[in-house]
Symmetry: C2
Subunit: 199 residues, 2 copies
Amino acid sequence: MSATPKAVSRLIEAFSRLPGIGPKTASRLAYHLLRAGREDAQSLSQALAELHEHTMFCSVCCNISESDPCDVCSDPHRDRTMICVVEEPLDVLAIENTGRYKGLYHVLHGHISPMERIGPDELHIRELMRRLEDGTIQEVIVATNPTLEGDATGMFLSRLIGPMGVRVTRLALGLPRGGDLEYADRVTLAEALAGRRAI
Amino acid sequence: MSATPKAVSRLIEAFSRLPGIGPKTASRLAYHLLRAGREDAQSLSQALAELHEHTMFCSVCCNISESDPCDVCSDPHRDRTMICVVEEPLDVLAIENTGRYKGLYHVLHGHISPMERIGPDELHIRELMRRLEDGTIQEVIVATNPTLEGDATGMFLSRLIGPMGVRVTRLALGLPRGGDLEYADRVTLAEALAGRRAI
């Protein structure tokens, strides 16, 4: 005999399937919603139900969007000579939040990773190559994550795109602003040294 | 102009209202569900929609339940001479999981906390007192949290119930099994010393 009502354990199970949420956190969330009252649970339920109804993938940049093409791709004020290539839709948000980039984006939806059996064909690289065909794009900024997989993906793109006469750049590696040199890891410090610039 | 579709930002907002989930985790969860496909989002949505439909509070022990009285309160095999008093429904689960308790429960839904303006009247203490009236209950085990507020609640209950001739006990305090004496905090170690038992 279980002391948990079925409706509660079903919710706990559904929460546990989310990344980073274990059974303990899932129980806490479920009981919080029980206590918090009907409204919170209903609004979350509704938001989830509508998630896939009103979203699609932009057929140009492969980002998640409300329309196809997406707001960025159809914005006449964006610089149409550069594409910033990122791994995930959240990375687009991060770069938009800097307010320093006015070009276009391309979302790969992952990175090359032989360990996870993700090759170039599993990513949206074909769509990227198609965008380079008409010669408008002059620079591709590779903004994949500063990880082994991100680097490998960047290297792959650079070898593919470089010969087409398009400039391929990579986000700078170095010390994070506000960080402390003393606590910087060896690899980051080495990158910062190697990438030093005249002042 | 925002790069986030409205359906996604609505979901991020709803997730952020949950305890322990900040805007970053909320975004990660939302984009995970977008990628994971329709099914996961739908099953979570449904579980949330049904949460309040199929659950109620047991009018005897105040625990969350599928029926009234709940499974524990209506189980003829439980020991009807003892009540274990806990703060939250999750605490009932924790004690049930030990497999060592066969009595009844009572859920207070909180603890006495003058700082948070929670007095005895905000808890389900009246319901507990009513259960003691017919003299069947011989022991009340106070299993509130080992915190200042939990202790205060326990003390309050003990003063209220003690004079009725009902035995009031408290869960033992001491070293957690598997812990390391070297890393035990001072207060816990002091409690373990004070509560030492003959072997």
